[in-house]
Every structure is written in structure tokens, then in C-alpha cells.
């Protein structure tokens, strides 16, 4: 039929959903990387506590924003029900809610043996009382016994959460920018890149231990590879969006003509940190400032990616 097309960007899931996606990916990947480091690189109580607590706070803030924007807050009980995996296996929000929920539960249990030993946490008034309860100590001992199992349960749910942040917008078929296999890949790579940047900041500015040098070097190298992968995926997106679908073409017009995307995200969020980390990996830096700068830029870039994705998804409407 002859139609006159109309191009439209949505105003339903805006900046707050970009924050949900950002904190979802960052929080989940932070917990995952911290736990894998603890399990397979070096036992590291402080890193686990920082990873678990900050990850759970990020996930809570992100999920809280989504919850706040629901029209009926009571009906959320239907997705908190663990059986939703069976009842609605085709809905990614159902999977994502369960991934987030269980990742937080396994994450707390994995960190519990370290929490009861932490001087800082046992110094906080209310938490001190709870962590002092005999039942909590018994639970911590049990968690210690099954530490690796809990670590892997948390890791699987963490990776699931990171992938879910891409799958959720991939499930909207009208928008070509979202509905393609590159989105889950891009968001997963970005989630782990931002998580490594966050943990690099924690190791460099907070924990500050010389013996963690090899962890920092490993994080830098891995982040460098992830940023390079992200740039390749984005180049593929650029090629994909140039033609083939009107929705994709109009998204391309919005994205690739925007200074915030080009200079803010691609320039300062990816290329500049890539160069800073590359120099650090090849020749090293005499100060922490360049790596701290690179990490902060990667973290800001991670949000910008999701922000621009939400605002430049174009619906091509035939009326």
C-alpha cells in the first residue's frame, strides 16, 4: 500500500531507563569480575566487599528507577515470583528481574564470610548487631564451605544480567537500532569494560595495595581489549545503519551527526581511554592519574552509550 512515512523517537523509556541499563550492566559485571578475581586470581576480601556492596547498590538504584516508573507497583509481584521463568520465558524483563534478584542474593551470600570479618562493616551500628548474630555466623560458615558454588551462581546471574540489558531492547522489532544481534553483544562488552574501569578506580584510589599491581595490570589489559572490541562493534553498527532499513538510517542520522555521541562517547568515552590504557600497557605511566582519568572516561562513556541508544531508536510509522 502507498504510505507516507513518519519518523518518531519514543518518549516512554528515557534517561531513567538508560540509568537502569547502565547500573544493571555495571553492577552485575562489577560483582562478577570481583568474584572471579577472588576465586581464580587472588583471594581478595576488600575487592569482594567493594564489588558486592557497590554492585548491589547500583542494581538497587537501577531497579528502583524502573519500579518507580511502573504504573501499578503492586502488580510487580508477578515478576518477582521465581516461577515467572516458566510462566513467561519469552519476556526478557522477567528473566532480567530474576537474574538481578538472584545475583544479589548469591552475591550477599558469597560476600558474607568476608562481611563478618570486616572491621569497617562490623563498626556500623545496625549492621554490627546483625553481623554479630550467631545464626549469621553459622550461615557465613556454611557459605564459606560452598564458596565457589556461590561465586559461580552469582557469576552466571551476573553475566545473565549484563546480557539481558541488551536483550531487553533487542526485543522491540520496530526499531532497527535495537532489534539486531549486535545490541546484546555491545551492551555486554560495555558492561564488563565499565566494571573493570570501576574496579581499577577502587584498587587504585581506595584499596591502594602494591601487591595488587598484577590485578591492576590484568584489568587494564582486559579493558583495553574490551574497548577495542566495542569500537569494532560500533563500526559494524555504523555500516549496518547506513542503508537497508529506514528506521536504522534515521537513527544513523541522529547518532552520527551528534557531537555528544561522536566527541563525547566515541571520542572521550572510548578512543581517549583506549590511548591512555594502551600507553599504560605498552610503556607504563609514572603516575596513576592517566589510568584514573581513563577509568572515569570509560564510566561516563558507558552511560552515554545507553543514553543515546534510548533517545535515537526511530520508529518508522506508515501514517
Amino acid at each position: 500500500m502507498d504510505v507516507t512515512m513518519n519518523y518518531y523517537t519514543q518518549d516512554i523509556w528515557t534517561w531513567w531507563f538508560a540509568i537502569y541499563l547502565y547500573f544493571g550492566g555495571l553492577g552485575a559485571a562489577t560483582v562478577t569480575v570481583a568474584f572471579l578475581t577472588d576465586m581464580y586470581m587472588k583471594q581478595h576480601k576488600e575487592l569482594v566487599l567493594w564489588g558486592a556492596i557497590s554492585g548491589i547498590i547500583m542494581l538497587s538504584v537501577g531497579s528502583g528507577l524502573l519500579f518507580w516508573h511502573l504504573l501499578d507497583h503492586f502488580a510487580v509481584i508477578h515478576v518477582l515470583n521465581p516461577l515467572v521463568w516458566i510462566l513467561k520465558p519469552d519476556a526478557w524483563i522477567a528473566w532480567g528481574t530474576q537474574f538481578i534478584l538472584w545475583m544479589m542474593i548469591w552475591g550477599v551470600l558469597y560476600a558474607l564470610p568476608y562481611m563478618v570479618e570486616s572491621r569497617f562493616l562490623t563498626g556500623i551500628p545496625l549492621l554490627k548487631t546483625v553481623l554479630g548474630w550467631p545464626i549469621v555466623h553459622k550461615l557465613a560458615a556454611l557459605c564459606q564451605r560452598f564458596h565457589k558454588l556461590l561465586g559461580w551462581l552469582s557469576t552466571v546471574n551476573g553475566i545473565g544480567t549484563a546480557v539481558y540489558t541488551g536483550l531487553v531492547i533487542q526485543s522491540f522489532p520496530a526499531v532497527a537500532l535495537w532489534h539486531n544481534p549486535g545490541v546484546p553483544l555491545l551492551f555486554t562488552v560495555s558492561a564488563f569494560s565499565t566494571a573493570l574501569a570501576f574496579l581499577l578506580l577502587v584498587l587504585t584510589l581506595v584499596i591502594k595495595r602494591e601487591e595488587d599491581h598484577h590485578i591492576r595490570v590484568f584489568y587494564e589489559r582486559t579493558d583495553l581489549m574490551l574497548i577495542a572490541t566495542e569500537l569494532v562493534i560500533l563500526f559494524s553498527f555504523f555500516q549496518y545503519m547506513r542503508a537497508g532499513s529506514e528506521s536504522a538510517f534515521h537513527s544513523a542520522q541522529l547518532l552520527w551527526n551528534d557531537w555528544g555521541w561522536m566527541i563525547g562517547f566515541i571520542g572521550f568515552g572510548l578512543i581517549v581511554p583506549f590511548m591512555l590504557e594502551l600507553k599504560g600497557v605498552l610503556k607504563g605511566w609514572s603516575s596513576h592519574v592517566p589510568i584514573v582519568t581513563a577509568s572515569v572516561l570509560v564510566l561516563v562513556g558507558g552511560y552515554l552509550l545507553r543514553h543515546y541508544f534510548m533517545y535515537t531508536g526511530v520508529y518508522a510509522q506508515p501514517w
Binding site: M1, D2, V3, T4, Y8, Q10, I12, W13, L66, H69, L70, L71, D72, H73, A75, V76, H78, V79, V84, L87, K88, D90, A91, W92, I93, A94, T97, V168, I169, S171, F172, P173, A174, Y315, A316, Q317, P318, W319
Partner: protein, 204 residues
């Protein structure tokens, strides 16, 4: 098996918006928030002396493969065997993923303030008590009684036709089978069940 569908003839839609009014009254849609289950777009096509005015009615397409249903995390959006896609407003948490997924912009929110306004407007006849992300139901409550959807019944130009695609003798099924009535955005793979008869070919 019955497979309900609608055909809209753009040649005979006069843009009176009676369908919008009939639907709003039948289904208590929040007109005070300018939200409708069906909406008639008024568009000028062409330039100079050859400008056509096209009235384009739009509603839920009751897709065979509805993306609004697959993304719904609570199962509030569901499909009847006769092809009608419905929403259980008690189960809907209002995440609006369905609105994001719908290529036809058919889903819209009903908030607590809309419910309050509805109760004030309709009094004891008010039917809405839960926030939801609403959509056209093909007036399933009327169809089950053997009636046509309110918009079809009220259409002054007989632009809207409602019928059964699985009945080869049904005029709607014949129009669709002939290729005269065609769906919107078929390439997306949603399998829409609202079909349009083109007006621009006749107008030249």
C-alpha cells in the same frame, strides 16, 4: 476456527472521528488525557494543486505474532483463540514494554489519575479500577454477543469492516485474499490483522 480481522477502506473514511467517539464511550478511554484506542490521523499528501487529504484510522492490529505479548513480563497481554489480543489490567504492572514493542503505537498508559478522572466522569458506571497499558480489544465483549466493534458499527462511510479471515465467504476474508486490502509494516513479521484499502491509486 474463527480468525477476526478488520479492513479499513481509506477511500471512504471521511474523517468524522465518530469511531473515536464511539470507542471512547464504549471502552471508557481517557480522552481527557488525549489517549485513544483508535485514532484518525489527518494528513495532507502532495504539493501544489495535487494535494490529497487522507484520513488514516489506526488501532491495535491484533497481530498473529504480537511483540507486545512476548515482551510482557507478567503475562498481562494474552491472545484468544479467535485472534483477539487482550490485556488483563489486574495483572499489568505498567512497565510499558508493550508500548515500546508495538510497531503500530497502539498501546497507551492509563494512570491512577486517569482512573480518578474516569470515576468522576462515569460515576458508578466507571469500569476501570487498575492502572494498565491499554489497547483496542476489537470490542471483544460485544463480539462475543454477536455484535460488531463499536467503531465499525458507528462508521458513517462504512470504511471499517469486521469479519472472519477463516470464513472464505466473509467479505473481509475476500478483500484480504484478493490483495486489495493490505497490512501495515508486514516486513516486521508481526502478522497484523488490520488491513487497509489504498486511496491514492484511485485518486491518481
Amino acid at each position: 476456527m474463527t480468525h477476526y480481522a478488520m479492513v479499513i477502506d481509506l477511500n471512504t473514511c471521511v474523517g468524522c472521528n465518530a469511531c473515536m467517539a464511539a470507542c471512547a464511550m464504549e471502552n471508557q478511554t481517557p480522552v481527557w488525557s488525549n489517549r485513544w484506542r483508535t485514532y484518525v490521523h489527518d494528513k495532507e499528501i502532495g504539493t501544489g494543486d495535487s494535494v490529497h487529504r487522507r484520513f488514516f484510522p489506526r488501532l491495535c492490529n491484533h497481530c498473529d505474532n504480537p511483540p507486545c505479548m512476548s515482551v510482557c513480563p507478567t503475562g498481562a497481554t494474552y491472545k484468544l483463540d479467535n485472534g483477539i489480543v487482550l490485556v488483563d489490567d489486574e495483572r499489568c504492572m505498567g512497565c510499558q514494554a508493550c508500548a515500546m514493542a508495538c510497531p503500530y503505537a497502539a498501546r497507551y498508559p492509563i494512570t491512577y489519575s486517569d482512573i480518578d478522572a474516569g470515576e468522576e466522569f462515569y460515576g458508578s458506571d466507571a469500569q476501570r479500577h487498575h492502572p494498565t497499558v491499554d489497547k483496542c480489544s476489537f470490542c471483544a465483549h460485544r463480539v462475543v454477543q454477536g455484535l460488531e466493534p463499536a467503531c465499525v458499527e458507528t462508521c458513517v462511510g462504512n470504511s471499517r469492516m469486521f469479519g472472519d479471515l477463516d470464513d472464505p465467504e466473509d467479505p473481509v476474508a475476500k478483500l484480504v485474499a484478493s490483495g486489495v486490502a493490505r497490512p501495515l509494516l508486514p516486513h516486521i513479521g508481526t502478522g497484523p490483522n488490520v488491513f487497509y484499502i489504498n486511496d491514492l491509486e484511485r485518486r491518481g
